[in-house]
């Protein structure tokens, strides 16, 4: 948190560092998130060391309290991270075009629901079935994101409001469709998926001692590459970024701003839709009537912001937040309420929103210097 009056330093300048380097700010807010989170744990009389030992166990598989190693923890860390990375990419992609996509949650639900139906209704052809599930999820997520993009482009309706509304519309429509029409559905689940629809991978499963990690991993890594490629290496990416920087300048230089906005939201939604498929086909063996929001989309906002809305940043931040999420049961068993992870997510986003303070501080200091 920026303080009001820092003494001016001569050689190494912190304020300069934080106004110039996004990476440094990310590291700082993460560190602050953990420091304040630990203080909070201390304040209620629990031992933050337990929190960190749980995190260590998730990342290394090493259980320091019992002295045993189990690779499954590492696998489950990635399982928890994949949807966060993808929802982070979703938020980040839209942000590059100057859009604030709070709707990753709804696009995730759209993708998940479409994949569930394809898994249950498409003929179980080995090798093709799961691929169609993935495609259906991608398309559904893309369409759901596209609605918000189109409304913004055509009617200049704020995407912040529409995406929030579309989140809840997705949730209730998914509940209704799944409960009313999915084969073998009761109030909370459908019948089991055919094995051909699952993203399971025996090799990875073996490697991680029976974790739920599977082929979703490749799709996540591919998505990171695709994000980077589109944004940094294509004409489309350039026009999207130009729209994000300055809409009027982009329009003046011949970029179709309207279609850039819709396209950006379509691609953004596809990432979140894929997250839905990976959770549904990777972590579950049956379709679900969602009882409520699963919060990957909202946490994806934190992921993207910490990752400075870049591909690699979202990957790293997603792994960080995935680590926190997957350590929840371990923390709970060590007397740290698992909600500490949400507190850390929230703190990180709050601190990120304070980052502009560095710029104000630098401006203020520059003014002081010119005076003296």
């Amino acid at each position: 948190m920026p303080d009001k009056a820092l003494p001016p330093k001569e050689k190494f300048d912190l304020i300069d560092l934080f106004t110039r380097s996004n990476g440094a700010v990310s590291l700082l807010v993460i560190a602050l998130g953990f420091v304040f989170g630990s203080l909070f744990v201390l304040l209620v009389g629990r031992d933050p060391v337990n929190m960190f030992s749980a995190l260590l166990q998730v990342v290394t598989g090493w259980d320091s309290s019992r002295g045993v190693w189990n690779a499954r923890y590492i696998g489950e860390w990635f399982v928890a991270s994949m949807p966060l990375v993808l929802c982070g990419l979703s938020m980040a992609f839209a942000a590059r075009t100057g859009l604030f996509n709070i709707g990753a949650e709804g696009q995730y639900i759209a993708g998940l629901t479409a994949a569930q139906f394809v898994a249950l209704l498409f003929p179980p052809i080995p090798g093709l079935h799961w691929l169609v599930c993935v495609l259906a999820g991608l398309l559904a997520g893309a369409a759901w994101g596209g609605i918000a993009g189109w409304l913004k482009a055509k009617y200049t309706v704020s995407e912040v409001v529409t995406t929030i509304m579309l989140n809840y519309i997705a949730l209730y429509v998914s509940q209704w469709l799944t409960h009313a029409f999915a084969p073998g559905a009761n109030t909370y689940r459908t019948k089991a998926y055919p094995a051909t629809s699952l993203l399971a991978n025996p090799w990875i499963e073996d490697l991680t001692n029976g974790s739920r990690l599977g082929n979703g991993l490749w799709f996540m890594l591919l998505s990171v590459l695709v994000f980077w490629f589109i944004i940094d290496r294509t004409r489309l990416g350039f026009s999207l970024r130009a729209t994000g920087f300055n809409k009027e300048a982009a329009r003046a230089s011949g970029i179709k701003v309207q279609s850039a906005i819709t396209t950006s939201m379509v691609i953004s939604g596809a990432f979140a839709g894929l997250a839905g498929v990976i959770v549904s086909m990777g972590s579950f063996s049956y379709g679900r009537v969602l009882p409520g929001m699963e919060n990957y989309g909202f946490n994806g906002i934190a992921v993207a912001l910490v990752g400075n809305v870049t591909a690699i940043g979202s990957l790293l931040a997603g792994l960080l937040f995935g680590m926190l999420n997957s350590a929840q049961p371990l923390m709970q068993s060590r007397e740290i309420p698992k909600e500490i992870t949400w507190i850390i997510f929230g703190l990180v986003v709050v601190f990120i929103s304070f980052r502009n303070g560095f710029k104000l501080l630098a401006d203020w200091r520059a003014k002081q210097r010119t005076k003296s």
């Binding site: 909070f40 209620v44 604030f100 709070i102 409304l151 009617y155 200049t156 309706v157 704020s158 912040v160 409001v161 529409t162 929030i164 509304m165 579309l166 809840y168 519309i169 209730y172 429509v173 509940q175 209704w176 409960h179 009313a180 409520g292 909202f298 946490n299 906002i301 934190a302 912001l305 309420p337 909600e339 500490i340 992870t341 949400w342 507190i343 850390i344 997510f345 929230g346 703190l347 990180v348 986003v349 709050v350 990120i352 929103s353 304070f354 980052r355 502009n356 303070g357 104000l360």
Partner: protein, 301 residues
């Protein structure tokens, strides 16, 4: 048809918190600061009110409700200071700090439940608010008073005019000698106090304890009511009434024979679908405060 007369008390019970939160959101947006943190502010208000009420109920019967509601308001007000500091003092993106509060609020509330009550929700209280001779909860009257108060302040008092000018053209307001930042702080804090009050009203009438699912999107419904009501007290009141009715029907429709042909999620969907439709319908017309979402930077023209 549906027997609205018998449903009316429960409908008004659902309308009250949505209306109170929406009026808070409206004040904030009128001053130019978007507050998507209503959901989180309601959550922290609901948690604080429920906790204080549960803990004081055996000690101070009769007073615990009042103290609970007051603490819920204070908690909401304090939380909104984070949003105010980031978006007004630091010119941050108002959506980012709002998102942060939404994440933080539910985390802190459930975390503290685990510490205080050793479960993921507060303990249940014996009695919440009770209904009066008309079968109405006091929250309905509170909401009405807040509505009249907000309307009177915004449209009949000079300070209300000044506040609205901060959301229309902050530079011009500053030129006229108005302290834009101070008024924006007051507006955001008012929305925090009202958000906390809304959460307290909700938890002490609709349920018997706070849990993660207590608010369940009603803060976002309140946010929708602000746009749907076109940033006017009367409009927002109408929107909150419509949406609250919809939420109440979503819960009670299982008991209504005539509505069985609709999917059970139908009334849950209504507020969200209607809001998008009206935004599209009224797009291009200037109902929203003009400087909404923009930080006020001194020296900018």
């Amino acid at each position: 048809m549906i027997d609205f007369a018998s449903l009316l008390p429960s409908i008004l019970m659902m309308v009250a918190p949505i209306l109170i939160a929406a009026l808070g959101g409206m004040i904030s947006e009128k001053a130019g600061v978007v507050n998507i943190a209503l959901e989180g502010l309601m959550g922290i208000g609901a948690f604080t009110a429920a906790t204080v009420h549960v803990l004081l109920e055996p000690v101070l019967p009769g007073w615990s409700l009042l103290i609970g509601v007051a603490s819920g308001m204070v908690a909401g007000g304090l939380f909104s200071l984070i949003h105010a500091y980031a978006s007004i003092s630091l010119n941050a993106d108002q959506v980012v700090s709002g998102t942060g509060i939404n994440l933080l609020a539910v985390g802190i509330a459930v975390f503290l439940c685990q510490i205080i009550f050793h479960q993921d929700r507060t303990s249940a209280f014996q009695i919440g608010m009770t209904t009066d001779a008309l079968g109405l909860y006091p929250t309905v009257w509170i909401a009405l008073v807040v509505l009249l108060g907000v309307w009177f302040f915004l449209y009949k008092r000079p300070a209300g005019l000044r506040l609205r000018s901060c959301g229309e053209n902050p530079q011009a307001a500053a030129a006229a000698g108005i302290d834009v930042r101070r008024l924006r702080y007051l507006a955001v804090m008012t929305s925090g106090l009202l958000g906390g009050l809304a959460g307290a009203s909700l938890v002490l009438t609709e349920t018997i304890q706070y849990s993660m699912s207590s608010i369940n999107g009603q803060g976002f419904i309140a946010l929708a009511a602000v746009s749907f009501g076109r940033w006017m007290p009367g409009g927002v009141a109408g929107a909150a009434t419509l949406f609250g009715t919809s939420v109440a029907l979503a819960i009670s429709m299982v008991n209504v024979q005539d509505l069985r042909f609709l999917p059970p999620q139908f009334f849950s969907l209504v507020p969200y679908v209607l809001t998008i439709l009206t935004l599209v319908l009224f797009s291009g017309k200037d109902f929203a405060p003009r400087a909404i979402g923009q930080p006020y930077e001194k020296g900018l023209r």
